[in-house]
Amino acid sequence: MHVFKSIEARPMPGQSAGPLAWLRVNLFSSTSNSVMTLLLLALGVWTLMSSMDWALVHAVFGANLQACNDVRGVGACWGVITEKGRLIVMGRYPEAEHWRPVIATALMLGVVVISCMPRFWNKALPLIWALMLVVYFILMKGGLMGLTEVDTDQWGGFPLTVMLTVISMTLAFPLAIFVALGRRSNMPAIKTLCTLYVELIRGVPLITVLFMASFMLPLFMPEGVKIDVLVRVVVGITLFSAAYMAEVIRGGLQALPKGQTEAAATLGLTYWQTQRMIVLPQALATVVPSIMNTFIGLFKDTSLVTIVSLYELTGALGLALNSDADWRPFKIEAYLFITFIYFAFCFAMSRYSLWIEERTAVSKVR
Protein backbone atom coordinates (compact mmCIF):
# COMPACT_ATOMS: atom_id res chain seq x y z
CA MET A 1 0.00 0.00 0.00
CA HIS A 2 1.19 3.55 -0.78
CA VAL A 3 1.61 5.91 2.16
CA PHE A 4 0.34 9.47 1.64
CA LYS A 5 3.19 11.98 1.70
CA SER A 6 2.37 15.66 2.05
CA ILE A 7 4.29 18.22 -0.02
CA GLU A 8 5.82 21.07 2.01
CA ALA A 9 4.22 24.45 1.42
CA ARG A 10 6.54 27.04 -0.18
CA PRO A 11 6.21 30.79 -0.86
CA MET A 12 4.57 31.99 -4.07
CA PRO A 13 7.16 32.57 -6.81
CA GLY A 14 7.91 35.94 -8.44
CA GLN A 15 7.33 37.97 -5.27
CA SER A 16 10.43 40.15 -5.46
CA ALA A 17 10.83 42.42 -2.48
CA GLY A 18 12.32 45.90 -2.02
CA PRO A 19 11.37 49.40 -3.16
CA LEU A 20 13.36 49.24 -6.42
CA ALA A 21 11.59 46.11 -7.55
CA TRP A 22 8.27 47.70 -6.58
CA LEU A 23 9.05 50.78 -8.67
CA ARG A 24 9.97 48.69 -11.68
CA VAL A 25 6.82 46.60 -11.53
CA ASN A 26 4.38 49.39 -10.75
CA LEU A 27 5.73 52.56 -12.37
CA PHE A 28 8.30 51.68 -15.02
CA SER A 29 7.07 48.41 -16.50
CA SER A 30 7.12 49.72 -20.11
CA THR A 31 8.26 52.75 -22.10
CA SER A 32 4.82 54.36 -22.16
CA ASN A 33 4.40 53.68 -18.46
CA SER A 34 7.75 55.30 -17.71
CA VAL A 35 6.89 58.39 -19.77
CA MET A 36 3.53 58.65 -17.98
CA THR A 37 5.17 58.32 -14.58
CA LEU A 38 7.72 61.06 -15.34
CA LEU A 39 5.08 63.42 -16.78
CA LEU A 40 2.82 63.02 -13.75
CA LEU A 41 5.79 63.46 -11.45
CA ALA A 42 6.72 66.74 -13.20
CA LEU A 43 3.12 67.95 -12.98
CA GLY A 44 3.01 67.07 -9.30
CA VAL A 45 6.26 68.85 -8.54
CA TRP A 46 5.14 71.94 -10.50
CA THR A 47 1.79 72.11 -8.67
CA LEU A 48 3.48 71.69 -5.33
CA MET A 49 6.11 74.35 -6.09
CA SER A 50 3.62 76.95 -7.26
CA SER A 51 1.26 76.36 -4.35
CA MET A 52 4.22 76.54 -1.95
CA ASP A 53 5.15 79.79 -3.66
CA TRP A 54 1.71 81.13 -2.90
CA ALA A 55 1.21 79.59 0.53
CA LEU A 56 4.68 80.06 2.01
CA VAL A 57 7.25 81.96 -0.04
CA HIS A 58 5.27 85.10 -0.90
CA ALA A 59 2.84 84.81 1.98
CA VAL A 60 2.22 87.38 4.68
CA PHE A 61 1.81 85.97 8.17
CA GLY A 62 1.32 89.07 10.26
CA ALA A 63 -1.95 90.96 10.51
CA ASN A 64 -0.56 93.63 8.22
CA LEU A 65 -3.27 94.85 5.85
CA GLN A 66 -0.91 96.92 3.69
CA ALA A 67 1.48 93.99 3.17
CA CYS A 68 -1.43 91.69 2.42
CA ASN A 69 -2.81 94.03 -0.23
CA ASP A 70 0.64 94.25 -1.82
CA VAL A 71 0.93 90.46 -2.37
CA ARG A 72 -2.65 89.95 -3.55
CA GLY A 73 -2.73 87.30 -6.27
CA VAL A 74 0.88 86.31 -5.67
CA GLY A 75 1.03 85.25 -2.06
CA ALA A 76 -1.34 84.17 0.63
CA CYS A 77 -2.44 86.51 3.37
CA TRP A 78 -2.43 84.35 6.48
CA GLY A 79 -2.70 87.57 8.42
CA VAL A 80 -6.44 87.34 7.98
CA ILE A 81 -6.40 84.40 10.38
CA THR A 82 -4.23 86.23 12.88
CA GLU A 83 -6.66 89.11 12.66
CA LYS A 84 -10.02 87.34 12.38
CA GLY A 85 -9.21 83.79 13.58
CA ARG A 86 -10.63 84.35 17.00
CA LEU A 87 -13.93 85.65 15.63
CA ILE A 88 -14.13 82.77 13.14
CA VAL A 89 -13.50 80.12 15.77
CA MET A 90 -15.60 81.64 18.54
CA GLY A 91 -18.38 83.40 16.63
CA ARG A 92 -20.45 85.98 18.48
CA TYR A 93 -19.61 84.70 21.95
CA PRO A 94 -18.48 87.69 24.08
CA GLU A 95 -14.73 88.02 23.80
CA ALA A 96 -14.05 88.46 27.50
CA GLU A 97 -15.68 85.09 28.18
CA HIS A 98 -13.91 83.07 25.48
CA TRP A 99 -12.22 80.88 28.08
CA ARG A 100 -15.63 79.36 28.85
CA PRO A 101 -16.39 77.80 25.44
CA VAL A 102 -12.74 76.68 25.22
CA ILE A 103 -12.95 74.71 28.45
CA ALA A 104 -16.51 73.48 27.77
CA THR A 105 -15.67 72.28 24.26
CA ALA A 106 -12.45 70.61 25.38
CA LEU A 107 -14.46 68.81 28.06
CA MET A 108 -17.10 67.72 25.58
CA LEU A 109 -14.53 66.47 23.04
CA GLY A 110 -12.65 64.70 25.82
CA VAL A 111 -15.76 62.77 26.84
CA VAL A 112 -16.47 61.95 23.19
CA VAL A 113 -12.94 60.61 22.77
CA ILE A 114 -13.14 58.33 25.81
CA SER A 115 -16.58 57.16 24.66
CA CYS A 116 -14.92 55.96 21.49
CA MET A 117 -12.67 53.60 23.41
CA PRO A 118 -14.25 50.23 24.16
CA ARG A 119 -12.46 49.93 27.48
CA PHE A 120 -14.57 52.79 28.83
CA TRP A 121 -17.86 51.20 27.75
CA ASN A 122 -19.26 50.58 31.18
CA LYS A 123 -22.02 51.74 33.49
CA ALA A 124 -20.14 54.88 34.53
CA LEU A 125 -20.15 56.30 31.00
CA PRO A 126 -23.76 57.61 30.95
CA LEU A 127 -23.03 59.24 34.29
CA ILE A 128 -19.92 60.92 32.91
CA TRP A 129 -21.99 62.19 30.00
CA ALA A 130 -24.69 63.60 32.24
CA LEU A 131 -22.07 65.33 34.37
CA MET A 132 -20.27 66.70 31.33
CA LEU A 133 -23.49 68.13 29.88
CA VAL A 134 -24.39 69.84 33.14
CA VAL A 135 -20.93 71.43 33.42
CA TYR A 136 -20.99 72.27 29.71
CA PHE A 137 -24.26 74.17 29.84
CA ILE A 138 -23.43 75.96 33.08
CA LEU A 139 -20.15 77.13 31.55
CA MET A 140 -21.66 78.15 28.23
CA LYS A 141 -24.89 79.69 29.43
CA GLY A 142 -23.67 81.16 32.71
CA GLY A 143 -26.02 83.11 34.94
CA LEU A 144 -24.85 80.88 37.78
CA MET A 145 -21.93 80.92 40.20
CA GLY A 146 -20.87 84.42 39.24
CA LEU A 147 -20.69 83.69 35.51
CA THR A 148 -22.25 86.31 33.27
CA GLU A 149 -25.23 85.00 31.37
CA VAL A 150 -24.65 84.48 27.64
CA ASP A 151 -27.79 83.99 25.55
CA THR A 152 -27.84 80.92 23.34
CA ASP A 153 -28.13 83.02 20.18
CA GLN A 154 -24.71 84.44 21.05
CA TRP A 155 -23.12 81.00 20.98
CA GLY A 156 -21.17 80.39 17.84
CA GLY A 157 -18.10 79.31 15.95
CA PHE A 158 -16.41 75.98 16.43
CA PRO A 159 -17.90 75.34 19.92
CA LEU A 160 -21.37 75.54 18.38
CA THR A 161 -20.39 73.21 15.54
CA VAL A 162 -19.07 70.67 18.07
CA MET A 163 -22.06 71.01 20.36
CA LEU A 164 -24.65 70.63 17.59
CA THR A 165 -22.81 67.63 16.16
CA VAL A 166 -22.19 65.82 19.42
CA ILE A 167 -25.66 66.30 20.86
CA SER A 168 -27.47 65.53 17.61
CA MET A 169 -25.36 62.41 17.07
CA THR A 170 -25.97 61.08 20.57
CA LEU A 171 -29.69 61.61 20.19
CA ALA A 172 -29.99 60.52 16.56
CA PHE A 173 -28.17 57.20 16.93
CA PRO A 174 -30.52 55.57 19.47
CA LEU A 175 -33.54 57.11 17.75
CA ALA A 176 -32.37 55.63 14.44
CA ILE A 177 -32.04 52.19 16.06
CA PHE A 178 -35.60 52.32 17.37
CA VAL A 179 -36.98 53.56 14.06
CA ALA A 180 -35.10 50.83 12.16
CA LEU A 181 -36.44 48.16 14.53
CA GLY A 182 -39.87 49.77 14.28
CA ARG A 183 -39.91 49.48 10.51
CA ARG A 184 -39.39 45.74 10.86
CA SER A 185 -41.93 45.36 13.65
CA ASN A 186 -44.89 43.01 13.39
CA MET A 187 -47.12 45.69 14.85
CA PRO A 188 -48.76 47.57 11.97
CA ALA A 189 -49.22 50.86 13.83
CA ILE A 190 -45.55 51.13 14.84
CA LYS A 191 -44.38 50.00 11.42
CA THR A 192 -46.54 52.59 9.63
CA LEU A 193 -45.50 55.36 11.99
CA CYS A 194 -41.79 54.65 11.50
CA THR A 195 -42.12 54.33 7.72
CA LEU A 196 -44.07 57.58 7.57
CA TYR A 197 -41.44 59.39 9.63
CA VAL A 198 -38.54 58.20 7.48
CA GLU A 199 -40.25 58.92 4.18
CA LEU A 200 -41.46 62.33 5.30
CA ILE A 201 -38.08 63.52 6.58
CA ARG A 202 -36.16 62.10 3.63
CA GLY A 203 -38.43 63.92 1.26
CA VAL A 204 -37.43 67.32 2.62
CA PRO A 205 -34.08 69.17 2.53
CA LEU A 206 -32.38 69.87 5.86
CA ILE A 207 -32.70 73.60 5.32
CA THR A 208 -36.47 73.22 5.21
CA VAL A 209 -36.47 71.11 8.37
CA LEU A 210 -34.37 73.73 10.18
CA PHE A 211 -36.55 76.53 8.91
CA MET A 212 -39.71 74.76 10.03
CA ALA A 213 -38.22 73.90 13.41
CA SER A 214 -37.18 77.47 13.90
CA PHE A 215 -40.06 79.51 12.55
CA MET A 216 -43.07 77.23 12.22
CA LEU A 217 -42.85 75.29 15.48
CA PRO A 218 -43.30 78.36 17.74
CA LEU A 219 -46.55 79.11 15.92
CA PHE A 220 -48.03 75.84 17.14
CA MET A 221 -46.85 76.31 20.69
CA PRO A 222 -49.32 77.53 23.30
CA GLU A 223 -49.09 81.16 24.35
CA GLY A 224 -46.13 81.87 26.61
CA VAL A 225 -44.26 78.66 25.84
CA LYS A 226 -40.96 79.46 24.20
CA ILE A 227 -38.49 76.85 23.12
CA ASP A 228 -34.90 77.95 22.80
CA VAL A 229 -33.64 78.30 19.25
CA LEU A 230 -30.76 75.89 19.99
CA VAL A 231 -33.15 73.21 21.18
CA ARG A 232 -35.27 73.66 18.07
CA VAL A 233 -32.23 73.35 15.83
CA VAL A 234 -30.87 70.29 17.67
CA VAL A 235 -34.27 68.62 17.36
CA GLY A 236 -34.34 69.44 13.65
CA ILE A 237 -30.87 68.06 12.93
CA THR A 238 -31.51 65.00 15.11
CA LEU A 239 -34.78 64.10 13.39
CA PHE A 240 -33.17 64.64 10.01
CA SER A 241 -30.08 62.49 10.47
CA ALA A 242 -31.94 59.81 12.43
CA ALA A 243 -34.15 59.18 9.40
CA TYR A 244 -31.13 58.54 7.17
CA MET A 245 -29.32 56.54 9.80
CA ALA A 246 -32.41 54.41 10.44
CA GLU A 247 -32.34 53.28 6.81
CA VAL A 248 -28.66 52.44 7.07
CA ILE A 249 -29.27 50.39 10.20
CA ARG A 250 -32.28 48.69 8.61
CA GLY A 251 -29.96 47.53 5.87
CA GLY A 252 -27.74 45.94 8.51
CA LEU A 253 -30.72 44.29 10.15
CA GLN A 254 -31.82 42.81 6.86
CA ALA A 255 -28.40 41.36 6.17
CA LEU A 256 -28.61 39.22 9.29
CA PRO A 257 -29.68 35.62 8.60
CA LYS A 258 -33.10 34.71 10.00
CA GLY A 259 -31.52 31.75 11.80
CA GLN A 260 -29.93 34.11 14.32
CA THR A 261 -33.24 35.36 15.69
CA GLU A 262 -34.72 31.87 15.50
CA ALA A 263 -31.86 30.47 17.54
CA ALA A 264 -32.30 33.27 20.07
CA ALA A 265 -36.02 32.48 20.26
CA THR A 266 -35.38 28.79 20.91
CA LEU A 267 -33.05 29.82 23.75
CA GLY A 268 -35.94 31.69 25.34
CA LEU A 269 -34.50 35.20 24.91
CA THR A 270 -37.05 38.00 24.85
CA TYR A 271 -37.43 40.37 21.91
CA TRP A 272 -35.35 43.11 23.51
CA GLN A 273 -32.67 40.68 24.75
CA THR A 274 -32.43 39.29 21.24
CA GLN A 275 -32.11 42.73 19.68
CA ARG A 276 -29.56 43.94 22.21
CA MET A 277 -27.30 40.90 22.44
CA ILE A 278 -27.69 39.11 19.11
CA VAL A 279 -29.15 41.30 16.38
CA LEU A 280 -27.77 44.80 16.95
CA PRO A 281 -24.13 43.89 17.68
CA GLN A 282 -23.95 42.06 14.36
CA ALA A 283 -26.15 44.40 12.33
CA LEU A 284 -24.37 47.55 13.50
CA ALA A 285 -20.94 46.02 12.89
CA THR A 286 -21.81 45.47 9.24
CA VAL A 287 -22.92 49.07 8.71
CA VAL A 288 -20.14 50.91 10.59
CA PRO A 289 -18.85 52.60 7.40
CA SER A 290 -22.29 53.88 6.42
CA ILE A 291 -23.11 55.08 9.94
CA MET A 292 -19.84 57.01 9.97
CA ASN A 293 -20.86 58.43 6.62
CA THR A 294 -24.03 59.82 8.19
CA PHE A 295 -22.09 61.18 11.16
CA ILE A 296 -19.60 62.98 8.94
CA GLY A 297 -22.47 64.36 6.89
CA LEU A 298 -24.16 65.59 10.05
CA PHE A 299 -20.96 67.30 11.20
CA LYS A 300 -20.79 69.30 8.00
CA ASP A 301 -24.55 69.86 7.76
CA THR A 302 -24.42 71.85 10.99
CA SER A 303 -23.12 74.70 8.80
CA LEU A 304 -26.70 75.11 7.55
CA VAL A 305 -27.88 76.53 10.87
CA THR A 306 -26.80 79.95 9.58
CA ILE A 307 -30.25 79.99 7.98
CA VAL A 308 -31.74 80.54 11.44
CA SER A 309 -29.09 83.07 12.45
CA LEU A 310 -26.85 80.80 14.44
CA TYR A 311 -23.23 81.39 13.50
CA GLU A 312 -21.27 78.16 13.79
CA LEU A 313 -17.81 77.79 12.23
CA THR A 314 -18.78 78.48 8.62
CA GLY A 315 -21.35 81.07 9.57
CA ALA A 316 -18.90 82.85 11.85
CA LEU A 317 -16.45 83.08 8.97
CA GLY A 318 -19.03 84.93 6.90
CA LEU A 319 -19.85 87.08 9.90
CA ALA A 320 -16.19 87.94 10.47
CA LEU A 321 -15.33 88.86 6.90
CA ASN A 322 -18.52 90.25 5.38
CA SER A 323 -18.66 92.97 7.98
CA ASP A 324 -15.14 94.14 7.26
CA ALA A 325 -14.43 95.46 3.76
CA ASP A 326 -10.67 95.64 4.42
CA TRP A 327 -10.23 91.95 5.08
CA ARG A 328 -13.05 90.65 2.87
CA PRO A 329 -10.74 89.99 -0.15
CA PHE A 330 -8.87 87.30 1.78
CA LYS A 331 -11.75 84.85 2.08
CA ILE A 332 -9.80 82.04 0.35
CA GLU A 333 -7.24 81.95 3.13
CA ALA A 334 -9.96 81.97 5.77
CA TYR A 335 -11.84 79.20 4.00
CA LEU A 336 -8.63 77.14 3.78
CA PHE A 337 -8.30 77.62 7.50
CA ILE A 338 -11.75 76.21 8.31
CA THR A 339 -11.27 73.55 5.63
CA PHE A 340 -8.32 72.35 7.64
CA ILE A 341 -10.44 72.23 10.81
CA TYR A 342 -13.31 70.36 9.11
CA PHE A 343 -10.90 67.98 7.42
CA ALA A 344 -9.01 67.17 10.61
CA PHE A 345 -12.22 66.17 12.35
CA CYS A 346 -13.73 64.27 9.45
CA PHE A 347 -10.47 62.42 8.89
CA ALA A 348 -10.28 61.48 12.56
CA MET A 349 -13.83 60.15 12.35
CA SER A 350 -13.10 58.08 9.29
CA ARG A 351 -9.91 56.63 10.82
CA TYR A 352 -11.87 55.73 13.93
CA SER A 353 -14.49 54.03 11.77
CA LEU A 354 -11.79 51.92 10.08
CA TRP A 355 -10.37 50.97 13.45
CA ILE A 356 -13.71 49.93 14.93
CA GLU A 357 -14.44 47.99 11.73
CA GLU A 358 -11.24 45.99 12.14
CA ARG A 359 -11.97 45.45 15.77
CA THR A 360 -15.42 44.02 15.14
CA ALA A 361 -13.97 41.86 12.38
CA VAL A 362 -11.62 40.15 14.85
CA SER A 363 -14.49 38.35 16.50
CA LYS A 364 -15.71 37.02 13.18
CA VAL A 365 -12.55 35.64 11.60
CA ARG A 366 -14.04 34.59 8.31
Partner: protein, 251 residues
Protein backbone atom coordinates in the same frame (compact mmCIF):
# COMPACT_ATOMS: atom_id res chain seq x y z
CA UNK B 1 -43.53 3.19 23.12
CA UNK B 2 -45.41 3.41 26.36
CA UNK B 3 -48.95 3.90 25.21
CA UNK B 4 -50.63 4.23 28.59
CA UNK B 5 -48.74 7.35 29.81
CA UNK B 6 -49.75 10.85 28.71
CA UNK B 7 -47.82 11.83 25.60
CA UNK B 8 -45.28 14.65 26.06
CA UNK B 9 -46.13 16.04 22.61
CA UNK B 10 -49.48 15.64 20.94
CA UNK B 11 -50.68 16.91 17.54
CA UNK B 12 -54.46 16.74 17.18
CA UNK B 13 -55.79 17.52 13.73
CA UNK B 14 -53.12 20.16 13.14
CA UNK B 15 -53.31 22.13 9.90
CA UNK B 16 -50.94 24.88 8.86
CA UNK B 17 -50.75 27.26 5.93
CA UNK B 18 -47.85 29.59 5.09
CA UNK B 19 -49.10 33.11 5.58
CA UNK B 20 -46.98 34.40 2.71
CA UNK B 21 -48.35 32.27 -0.13
CA UNK B 22 -51.26 30.34 1.39
CA UNK B 23 -49.56 26.99 0.84
CA UNK B 24 -51.17 24.24 2.91
CA UNK B 25 -48.01 22.83 4.48
CA UNK B 26 -49.35 20.58 7.28
CA UNK B 27 -52.52 18.61 6.59
CA UNK B 28 -54.51 16.88 9.36
CA UNK B 29 -51.51 15.87 11.39
CA UNK B 30 -52.30 13.55 14.31
CA UNK B 31 -49.25 12.39 16.22
CA UNK B 32 -48.29 11.44 19.75
CA UNK B 33 -44.82 11.28 21.20
CA UNK B 34 -44.14 9.50 24.47
CA UNK B 35 -41.73 10.77 27.08
CA UNK B 36 -38.20 9.60 26.27
CA UNK B 37 -39.12 8.42 22.80
CA UNK B 38 -36.57 8.77 19.97
CA UNK B 39 -38.24 9.48 16.65
CA UNK B 40 -36.78 10.03 13.21
CA UNK B 41 -38.85 12.00 10.72
CA UNK B 42 -38.06 11.61 7.04
CA UNK B 43 -39.60 12.40 3.71
CA UNK B 44 -38.90 14.26 0.48
CA UNK B 45 -38.02 17.95 0.60
CA UNK B 46 -41.04 20.16 0.97
CA UNK B 47 -42.99 17.45 2.77
CA UNK B 48 -43.43 19.59 5.88
CA UNK B 49 -41.13 17.67 8.23
CA UNK B 50 -39.09 20.69 9.31
CA UNK B 51 -42.24 22.75 9.69
CA UNK B 52 -43.70 20.00 11.86
CA UNK B 53 -40.91 20.09 14.41
CA UNK B 54 -40.63 23.89 14.26
CA UNK B 55 -44.25 24.04 15.44
CA UNK B 56 -43.24 22.25 18.64
CA UNK B 57 -41.24 25.22 19.94
CA UNK B 58 -43.52 27.78 18.33
CA UNK B 59 -41.09 28.93 15.66
CA UNK B 60 -44.08 28.36 13.39
CA UNK B 61 -47.71 28.88 14.29
CA UNK B 62 -50.56 26.71 13.09
CA UNK B 63 -54.12 27.61 12.17
CA UNK B 64 -56.23 24.56 13.01
CA UNK B 65 -56.18 21.78 15.59
CA UNK B 66 -54.29 21.66 18.87
CA UNK B 67 -50.67 21.05 19.68
CA UNK B 68 -49.88 20.23 23.28
CA UNK B 69 -46.30 20.19 24.53
CA UNK B 70 -45.74 18.85 28.04
CA UNK B 71 -49.21 19.88 29.16
CA UNK B 72 -49.11 23.34 27.57
CA UNK B 73 -51.35 24.04 24.60
CA UNK B 74 -49.49 26.17 22.07
CA UNK B 75 -51.74 28.90 20.82
CA UNK B 76 -51.73 32.64 20.77
CA UNK B 77 -50.84 32.73 24.45
CA UNK B 78 -47.28 34.08 24.73
CA UNK B 79 -46.83 32.74 28.23
CA UNK B 80 -47.27 29.21 26.97
CA UNK B 81 -44.60 29.80 24.34
CA UNK B 82 -42.04 30.93 26.95
CA UNK B 83 -42.88 27.92 29.08
CA UNK B 84 -42.43 25.50 26.18
CA UNK B 85 -39.21 27.08 24.91
CA UNK B 86 -37.60 26.54 28.29
CA UNK B 87 -38.18 22.82 27.89
CA UNK B 88 -37.36 22.34 24.24
CA UNK B 89 -33.85 22.52 22.82
CA UNK B 90 -33.29 22.84 19.09
CA UNK B 91 -30.42 22.13 16.73
CA UNK B 92 -30.55 23.66 13.26
CA UNK B 93 -29.18 22.59 9.91
CA UNK B 94 -27.15 25.81 9.67
CA UNK B 95 -25.98 25.63 13.33
CA UNK B 96 -27.10 29.24 13.94
CA UNK B 97 -24.37 29.91 16.48
CA UNK B 98 -23.85 33.58 17.31
CA UNK B 99 -20.64 34.46 15.44
CA UNK B 100 -19.83 37.55 17.54
CA UNK B 101 -19.77 35.55 20.77
CA UNK B 102 -17.26 32.90 21.85
CA UNK B 103 -18.32 29.29 22.20
CA UNK B 104 -18.62 29.72 25.96
CA UNK B 105 -20.63 32.95 25.61
CA UNK B 106 -22.97 31.16 23.21
CA UNK B 107 -23.54 28.47 25.80
CA UNK B 108 -24.12 30.62 28.89
CA UNK B 109 -26.34 33.21 27.18
CA UNK B 110 -29.63 31.54 27.94
CA UNK B 111 -28.71 30.18 31.40
CA UNK B 112 -27.58 33.61 32.63
CA UNK B 113 -30.23 35.78 30.94
CA UNK B 114 -33.28 33.52 30.85
CA UNK B 115 -32.75 31.16 33.78
CA UNK B 116 -30.93 33.92 35.75
CA UNK B 117 -28.22 31.50 36.82
CA UNK B 118 -25.05 33.02 38.35
CA UNK B 119 -22.36 33.35 35.68
CA UNK B 120 -19.89 31.11 37.48
CA UNK B 121 -22.38 28.29 37.81
CA UNK B 122 -23.46 28.68 34.17
CA UNK B 123 -19.83 28.39 33.04
CA UNK B 124 -19.31 25.24 35.09
CA UNK B 125 -22.43 23.65 33.67
CA UNK B 126 -21.55 24.72 30.14
CA UNK B 127 -18.13 23.13 30.55
CA UNK B 128 -19.79 19.80 31.38
CA UNK B 129 -21.81 19.99 28.16
CA UNK B 130 -18.74 20.98 26.12
CA UNK B 131 -16.89 17.97 27.48
CA UNK B 132 -19.83 15.78 26.64
CA UNK B 133 -19.65 16.87 22.98
CA UNK B 134 -15.82 16.66 23.20
CA UNK B 135 -15.05 20.27 22.36
CA UNK B 136 -14.01 21.71 25.73
CA UNK B 137 -10.61 22.87 24.44
CA UNK B 138 -12.30 25.31 22.04
CA UNK B 139 -14.42 27.06 24.69
CA UNK B 140 -12.84 30.46 24.11
CA UNK B 141 -12.76 30.40 20.31
CA UNK B 142 -15.28 32.06 18.06
CA UNK B 143 -17.64 29.75 16.15
CA UNK B 144 -16.27 30.60 12.72
CA UNK B 145 -12.81 29.43 13.82
CA UNK B 146 -14.21 25.91 14.11
CA UNK B 147 -15.06 23.28 11.50
CA UNK B 148 -18.68 22.59 10.59
CA UNK B 149 -18.78 19.42 12.66
CA UNK B 150 -17.35 21.22 15.67
CA UNK B 151 -19.83 24.06 15.25
CA UNK B 152 -22.74 21.65 15.18
CA UNK B 153 -21.48 19.96 18.32
CA UNK B 154 -21.29 23.38 20.00
CA UNK B 155 -24.87 24.00 18.88
CA UNK B 156 -25.92 20.72 20.48
CA UNK B 157 -24.12 21.68 23.70
CA UNK B 158 -25.84 25.08 23.64
CA UNK B 159 -29.24 23.42 23.41
CA UNK B 160 -28.32 21.01 26.21
CA UNK B 161 -27.47 23.93 28.50
CA UNK B 162 -31.21 24.58 28.74
CA UNK B 163 -31.53 21.09 30.32
CA UNK B 164 -34.43 20.45 27.96
CA UNK B 165 -36.94 17.64 28.24
CA UNK B 166 -37.27 17.56 24.48
CA UNK B 167 -34.56 17.94 21.82
CA UNK B 168 -35.43 18.80 18.24
CA UNK B 169 -32.92 18.22 15.46
CA UNK B 170 -33.67 19.83 12.09
CA UNK B 171 -31.44 18.04 9.56
CA UNK B 172 -28.40 18.41 11.83
CA UNK B 173 -25.96 16.79 9.42
CA UNK B 174 -27.20 18.08 6.06
CA UNK B 175 -24.83 21.04 5.90
CA UNK B 176 -21.75 19.04 6.88
CA UNK B 177 -18.88 17.57 4.90
CA UNK B 178 -19.06 13.79 4.76
CA UNK B 179 -16.09 13.40 7.09
CA UNK B 180 -17.79 15.42 9.82
CA UNK B 181 -21.18 13.76 9.80
CA UNK B 182 -19.97 10.89 11.94
CA UNK B 183 -18.67 13.04 14.82
CA UNK B 184 -22.06 14.74 15.11
CA UNK B 185 -24.04 11.52 14.84
CA UNK B 186 -21.82 9.92 17.51
CA UNK B 187 -22.71 12.72 19.90
CA UNK B 188 -26.40 12.34 19.10
CA UNK B 189 -26.27 8.57 19.65
CA UNK B 190 -24.73 9.20 23.05
CA UNK B 191 -27.55 11.57 23.94
CA UNK B 192 -30.15 8.89 23.38
CA UNK B 193 -29.13 7.27 26.65
CA UNK B 194 -30.05 10.43 28.62
CA UNK B 195 -33.79 9.82 28.66
CA UNK B 196 -34.69 12.97 26.72
CA UNK B 197 -37.41 12.89 24.13
CA UNK B 198 -35.64 13.32 20.76
CA UNK B 199 -37.21 14.22 17.44
CA UNK B 200 -34.86 14.24 14.52
CA UNK B 201 -35.49 15.23 10.93
CA UNK B 202 -32.79 13.41 9.01
CA UNK B 203 -32.01 11.20 6.07
CA UNK B 204 -29.29 9.34 7.96
CA UNK B 205 -30.95 5.97 7.75
CA UNK B 206 -28.12 4.24 9.63
CA UNK B 207 -28.80 6.56 12.57
CA UNK B 208 -32.53 5.83 12.34
CA UNK B 209 -31.95 2.09 12.38
CA UNK B 210 -29.54 2.30 15.30
CA UNK B 211 -31.39 4.55 17.75
CA UNK B 212 -34.95 5.37 16.67
CA UNK B 213 -37.94 3.87 18.40
CA UNK B 214 -40.10 4.93 15.51
CA UNK B 215 -39.74 6.36 12.03
CA UNK B 216 -42.30 8.80 10.67
CA UNK B 217 -42.54 9.23 6.92
CA UNK B 218 -44.14 12.41 5.61
CA UNK B 219 -45.12 13.60 2.17
CA UNK B 220 -47.11 16.63 1.01
CA UNK B 221 -47.78 17.78 4.54
CA UNK B 222 -49.22 14.48 5.67
CA UNK B 223 -48.00 11.73 7.91
CA UNK B 224 -47.97 8.88 5.42
CA UNK B 225 -46.58 6.10 7.53
CA UNK B 226 -45.10 5.48 10.98
CA UNK B 227 -43.48 2.31 12.23
CA UNK B 228 -40.49 0.98 14.15
CA UNK B 229 -37.38 1.35 11.94
CA UNK B 230 -36.98 -2.37 11.25
CA UNK B 231 -40.52 -2.63 9.97
CA UNK B 232 -40.37 0.67 8.07
CA UNK B 233 -37.18 -0.15 6.18
CA UNK B 234 -37.90 -3.82 5.56
CA UNK B 235 -41.58 -3.65 4.77
CA UNK B 236 -42.89 -0.15 4.05
CA UNK B 237 -46.68 -0.24 3.85
CA UNK B 238 -47.32 2.46 1.28
CA UNK B 239 -46.20 2.79 -2.32
CA UNK B 240 -44.99 6.35 -1.60
CA UNK B 241 -42.66 5.18 1.17
CA UNK B 242 -41.41 2.29 -0.98
CA UNK B 243 -40.65 4.70 -3.78
CA UNK B 244 -38.85 7.12 -1.41
CA UNK B 245 -36.76 4.37 0.17
CA UNK B 246 -35.81 2.93 -3.18
CA UNK B 247 -34.47 6.36 -4.13
CA UNK B 248 -32.44 7.08 -1.01
CA UNK B 249 -31.17 3.57 -0.42
CA UNK B 250 -30.86 2.68 -4.09
CA UNK B 251 -27.15 3.28 -4.43
Amino acid sequence: MTSNATPIIEFKGVNKWYASNGYHVLRDVNLQFAKGEKVVICGPSGSGKSTLIRCINALEEYQEGTLTVDGTVLGDDLKGIDQVRREVGMVFQQFNLFPHLTVMENLILSPTWVAKMPRKEAIDKAMVQLERVRIAEHANKYPLQLSGGQQQRVAIARALCLTPKIMLFDEPTSALDPEMIKEVLDVMVELTSQGMTMLCVTHEMGFAKAVADRVIFMDQGQVVEQAPPQQFFDAPQTDRAQDFLSKILGH
